[in-house]
């Protein structure tokens, strides 16, 4: 198949990407380990494990469990912290020739702002991806991700201290995803990432205990794809042109194209990388072939191109 006519390069707001695929936050650590298994230069970008001002050591075990076509995790936002990230992890990422997205969070307004400000000291960061859905943080964390007004204030405060564009990663646990997107857009976010994991639970009936130590965890993988796709479509329709980075269960080229058609401008792949470290490279090839087959020559041509069904003939009775 002659797919050389397809050029996968694209843009996400002001950010240029060699492909629409970003490795999803929390699923690629800081990229180093993947270098052994896959050619990092074939990715469009990497979103790092969420960074907080201070290091965090994460939640008790067990932290993960498998569910039907999905998995639950409660890692507890473990990360090396801002300073170690800047000095030990960022240089490696910067050298890979791909778009560097730093996912970050705080535990309150002050630490969010502190983290955004601190990351602006780093060289070569393209996007700050602000995670406002921290189910595993106790104090008030839930409001950042579910109350539009709070999200608005938080976003605004971080945008004010950042030269690097801020993309807000929304929580699917919000009742009104469009309201959330609108709120952060008005606060100056460059775009939104959606969706983060959906809060879920599993029980071991033999021990009668929750399967993960924190009782609840975040559901990811193919199981959530229909929900993710719907949310991307809702936001894309409500806020035309506003950059959306879509994710949730993408595991092959068709999944990827579904998200583009629904209105995502670029994509993240998370859970699929665990079982198959080369997943993104395979999916990239599959998308290239598929775009060619259905007649698009770039990913951006496909963005939001969902067709409406022909109306059924009117009912005669």
């Amino acid at each position: 198949m002659n797919t050389s006519a397809v050029d996968l390069a694209t843009t996400f707001g002001p950010v240029g990407l060699s492909t629409p695929f970003i490795a999803a936050s929390g699923c690629f650590a800081y990229g180093e380990q993947f270098a052994a298994f896959t050619d990092l230069s074939l990715l469009g970008g990497i979103s790092t494990k969420g960074i907080s001002p201070l290091p965090r050591y994460g939640n008790p075990v067990p932290r993960i469990c498998e569910t039907a076509s999905g998995m639950l995790n409660s890692i507890g936002l473990e990360n090396v912290g801002l300073e170690v990230f800047l000095s030990e992890k960022l240089p490696f990422l910067r050298e890979q020739g791909l778009s560097v997205w730093v996912n970050f969070f705080g535990t309150d307004f002050e630490t969010y702002i502190e983290c955004a400000r601190g990351l602006n000291r780093g060289q070569g960061i393209d996007v700050l991806e602000m995670n406002i859905s921290c189910p595993n943080i106790k104090k008030g964390g839930i409001e950042f991700g579910t109350v539009p007004e709070v999200a608005h204030r938080l976003t605004k405060a971080c945008v004010e201290v950042s030269e690097i564009p801020i993309v807000v990663k929304l929580s699917p646990n919000a009742g009104d995803i469009v309201g959330m997107a609108q709120a952060v857009k008005e606060a100056g976010a460059m775009g939104v990432s959606l969706i983060n994991t959906i809060t879920g639970m599993a029980i071991d009936v033999h021990t009668q205990m929750p399967r993960i130590a924190t009782t609840y965890g975040g559901l990811s993988g193919p199981a959530i794809k229909p929900i993710a796709l719907r949310m991307v479509h809702q936001v894309a329709r409500a806020l035309p042109g506003f950059p959306i980075c879509g994710m949730g269960g993408i595991s092959n080229g068709e999944d990827a194209l579904e998200f583009l058609l629904a209105g995502a401008h670029c994509l993240q792949v998370g859970t699929a990388c665990f079982a198959e470290p080369g997943a993104i490279v395979r999916i990239t090839d599959e998308l290239r072939n598929l775009l060619h087959r259905v007649g698009f020559s770039t990913p951006s041509e496909a963005v939001g191109k969902l067709k409406t069904r022909p109306q059924e003939p009117a009912w005669s009775a």
Binding site: G26, C27, F28, A29, Q33, F34, A36, F37, T38, K49, Y57, G58, P60, V61, P62, R63, I64, C65, E66, A68, S69, G70, M71, N73, I75, E78, G221, P222, S251, T271, C273, F274, A275, E276, P277, G278
Partner: protein, 274 residues
């Protein structure tokens, strides 16, 4: 400290060459990789992440100790039917395609002359110790290792003929007394450790098996000041240090290390178990 292989893991495709049922739900799957891999250099205790063409239902690969590695293209695992994944693997037919990541993690220290390694295996904890016994019986001599092997009943004690063929001494225990000592395998182990202390014999403990057994072995090692390595199991999504799912509570600067990349073999002193 545990011992890390020099060769790094790769992701590759392999076909099932043979599926050898061993009774009582145990099976050995022999794989042929479609390309050169690093499995020939496996250190006992290192593992493989294995996943069949199972659709999206079973999302995560399953971890299995490398049981045997004939050359850079051929290796096997020994499993037991437990849940959905091992049920699928037990039913695998020759020719079936699997995706593999191996060899992963940090394995057991090799034996050296003058120190007897007491290998403590419980149930499906056998594979890495079977390999350790074979390797070291050949390299250092049959007396360099002794195997302590426990199970619920005699059907759980597999491949005893191998140890015999290598000249390796075995101490068997079954909970129902159908073979060897009745009770836990730690019973003969305790006697052996006491005996060694009395004789001034240098021993170390290498254990793999159910958590209860590992806890007992850990306590025994710590109480007697015997160097002890434990091969642990944690739920894993990736197997190579990126999901942070397989945390193991440890003493030290940080509260957790990772079963897949810092282990699965840990020093008993390091493991933070109450």
């Amino acid at each position: 400290m545990a011992y890390e292989a020099g060769v790094s893991a790769t992701a590759f495709t392999a076909h099932v060459e043979r599926n050898r049922p061993l009774g009582a739900g145990y099976f050995v799957l022999e794989f042929a990789a479609t390309c050169e891999t690093g499995v020939a250099d496996v250190v006992p205790g290192q593992f493989a992440m294995v996943r069949g063409d199972w659709g999206r239902d079973l999302l995560n690969p399953r971890a299995f100790s490398v049981f045997e590695a004939a050359d850079s293209r051929h290796f096997s695992i020994l499993g037991k039917v437990f849940g959905r994944g091992t049920k699928r693997l037990a039913a695998a037919v020759p020719g079936e395609k699997m995706t593999i990541l191996a060899p992963l993690g940090v394995g057991f220290r090799p034996a050296r002359a003058g120190v007897t390694q007491l290998l403590v295996a419980g149930g499906v904890g056998l594979p890495p110790l079977h390999l350790q016994a074979k390797r070291n019986a050949a390299a250092v001599g049959p007396n360099a290792v002794e195997v302590f092997y426990g199970g619920r009943t005699r059907d759980d004690l597999l491949l005893l003929e191998d140890f015999e063929a290598w000249g390796v001494k075995t101490h068997l225990a079954t909970e129902d007394g159908s073979l060897g000592t009745r009770g836990y395998v730690t019973k003969p182990l305790v006697s052996r450790v006491r005996e060694a202390a009395q004789r001034g014999e240098s021993v170390e403990l290498l254990a793999c098996g159910p958590t209860g057994m590992l806890q007992a072995v850990r306590k025994l090692g710590l109480d007697h000041g015997v160097p002890t390595q434990l091969c642990l199991e944690e739920h894993m999504a990736c197997g190579f240090g990126v999901c942070l799912g397989c945390a193991v509570p440890v003493y030290g600067e940080k509260p957790y290390r990772y079963c897949c990349s810092d282990g699965p073999v840990f020093d008993a002193q390091e493991v933070r178990w109450s």
